[in-house]
Structure formats: C-alpha cells, structure tokens
C-alpha cells in the first residue's frame, strides 16, 4: 500500500536547513494498522504529511498502491486524497463556516457518494463518536476534544482505503478515547490501512506494528504482542501484570 524509499525532508528556516525526516524507508501493507511514536520534534507530523501529499519531500520516493506519488502535482494529490486518503490533522482544520454535519458529509459528496449515502455515513460516524447531538453546531461552538472527533469522522466519510491521522486522541478524555478506539477497530476490521501518529499507548497498543522515530529516523519497527496468552485474564491479573 505504502512504500517510501530514503525519504528526506529538510525545511529551510530563515536560510538555516532543518532536517526533519532523514532517510525513512517505510513499507506498509494493505490493511495494516501502523502506529508511529517518538518524541516531539522527531519528524512524525512531517512524515505523515508527506504520505498524504500535504508536504513536499526534499528527496526520496513515495509509492502508493504501486504508483509513484512524490512526483505528483498539487491537484493530482488532491484527487488522490478525495478518492482514497482520509487525513486527520493534529489541529483539526475544520471548515469554520459549515456545520459539523456538512464538514463530515462534504468529503463523501466530493468522492461521488449520493446525498443519502453521505448522510447515512455521517450519522453512523457521529453516532459512533458520541456526537449525534452536535451535528448542527458550528466547529467554533465545540470543545477541542469534540472538534478532534469531528475531524476523525470527516476523514472517514469517504471510506478511504488509507487513513492517515496525526495524534487523533491528543485532546480526548478516556471515555472519548474509548469511542475512538472502537471506531478505529471497526475501520481496521473493514480492511482499511491505518497510519497513525500517537503518544497514547492505548491507541498504539491496538496497532499491528509500532514504528519509533527519533531525530527523523526509524529507530525501531516491530509488531505489538500481548506478552502471554491468558485466555481469561481479569482485573485481578492487573496486579500481576505490574509485578
């Protein structure tokens, strides 16, 4: 699904080069759920932005579905995103003069869904995220955690084959995080590919694989496995887990 080859991003900060991503080779299979972790400033946002065509790479290659993507122009990327990529920004980026419902339905309509399909999809997504009552609100009327969930609903509206998300639970309390985890699980089971930046260990632990970045490079890449098979563990085992 995704393949990057020696991907590099160097920002120019007032003439001073800032290397943000330094030679990343990342391969993500179709249907895989990959979490990206790493300290602040390690290049996580830059990496997913490049994968979604929202930041231009300095050098290296990006392949999506077997096609070279890093050489595409802005409008070709826009078309690609409309067809098969959902993107959740770290800072939401909702359209301020549209209601929550319209924010979520728009990508589905742009991708060619009928108004009815778009509405049903929107109702399902807002329901799954506990936002049904907020459909007619404007984004500015919502709390940060609500805006963040709307951003996730919007990214999933066109049933993208690839979901890219930059810290989608950064502003959520534990109950809302549980809703988001439930929805991500559903999306994963449906076979959509997920690449998600997170600091939240609950979210990362659901991924098939965790990639750790440090100073723009991958320093670890491996599967997440529960340590032992205990078919019927209960909360009583939590004590044992810590021990």
């Amino acid at each position: 699904m995704i393949n990057t080859v020696n991907l590099v991003k160097i920002y120019q900060n007032g003439g001073v080069p800032v290397p943000a991503v330094r030679g990343v080779d990342l391969r993500v299979e179709r249907g895989e759920f990959v979490a990206i972790m790493g300290p602040s400033g390690s290049g996580k946002s830059t990496l997913v932005h490049m994968l979604g065509g929202l930041d231009v790479r300095t050098s290296g290659e990006i392949w999506l579905d077997g096609k070279r993507a890093d050489t595409l122009g802005e409008s070709a990327w826009a078309l690609l995103r409309r067809q098969k990529i959902g993107f959740v920004f770290q800072f939401f980026n909702l359209v301020t003069n549209m209601t929550v419902a319209d924010n979520v339905e728009l990508p589905a309509l742009l991708a060619g869904a009928s108004p009815r399909e778009a509405r049903e999809r929107r109702e399902h997504l807002l329901g799954a995220l506990g936002l049904t009552g907020r459909a007619d609100a404007a984004p500015a009327q919502l709390a940060g955690g609500e805006q963040q969930r709307v951003a996730l609903a919007r990214a999933l509206a066109n049933r993208p084959s690839l979901l890219l998300a930059d810290e989608p639970t950064g502003n959520l309390d534990s109950r809302n995080t549980r809703d988001v985890l439930g929805l991500l699980g559903e999306v994963h089971r449906d076979g959509q590919t997920i690449v998600l930046v997170t600091h939240d260990a609950r979210v990362a632990s659901l991924a098939d694989r965790v990639v750790s970045l440090l100073d723009g490079q991958i320093v670890d890449d491996g599967a997440v496995r529960a340590p032992r098979r205990r078919p019927r563990g209960t909360a009583g085992d939590v004590v044992e887990l810590r021990g």
């Binding site: 939240d200 609950r202 440090l214 496995r225 340590p227 563990g233 209960t234 909360a235 009583g236 887990l241």
Partner: protein, 168 residues
Amino acid sequence: MRPFLLALLAKEPAHGYELKQALEQIFGSAYPSPNIGQIYVTLGRLEKDGLVRAVDVEQSNRPNKKVYYLTAAGREALDDWADEPSEGPRVRDEFFMKLVLAPMTGIADRMTLISRQRRHYLGLMRDLNEIAERTPGEDRVALLLIEGAMLHLQADLDWLERCQEDLS
C-alpha cells in the same frame, strides 16, 4: 490481607466465610478471590497479635462458629494503616538499573533496551485493553484498577521517551 480484614471487621463482626464473601463482593474481579484457608490463617495471626478476638457462637445442629471482632489495638493498627502514605510506583526498577549499567559493561545497547522495553509495555497495554473489554461495566472497582494500570504504563512509556531523547 491483614489490613483488609481489619477494615471489614471495623464495620461489623463477622466469621471467616462472611469476610471472604465481603471481599469478593466489594472488589469484584479487581481482587483475586481469596481462599478460605488463607483467611483463617490471617485471622489466627491477627488474633495472636491481639488485633482481633474471637467468640464462639453456638449453632443448632452444627459446630460452633467463631465470630471475630476488632480490639482497640486492632482499631489503632487500622488507623495507622489508613494514615500512612501508600508506597508509590517503583521508578528505580530493574529496567532502570539495566539502562544505567548496560553501557558500562557492554552487555547491551541502550537504544535496544529502550525499544525492547517499549514493545513490552505496549504488549502489556494490549493485554489491559483486552481485559477491560471483558470486564462488565458494573464492575466499577475493577475498571478503575485497569485504568490506573493503563495510566501507569502511559507514564512509563513517556519516561522511556525522555530516556531516548536524553541518552541518544
């Protein structure tokens, strides 16, 4: 288990089996069901230390049963237990010792240790997620225990990240 039994007896006198049932009912799955033998052994020790006393209560057609109640000394021990601060999470744990000692001895690379530990913590978190899913919503105490364990793990992971930033 000593302070738990003292606390239950501070509420009302009880016999061993009632204490077992009370523990199960209060903690749900948050506390592994204690076996009755363990409870009697603990009660015996508490009695020897003068913290509880037992009276025989006659029962028709059955052997007498022992009902335990709290003594003044027991009450004091219970108050001391409630008043003292509980031990916090272990920070200087075995992993920390490995991390510090590793480069001196060449037994392992620090980044490798950190990465391995991160995977281990995430695996534990996955296990906790599964346990949480299996725990019924009414079992509030158990869910709080799980959430506590998750928050501890999150803190451990954040700390690993700090180690990685500082030691690289």
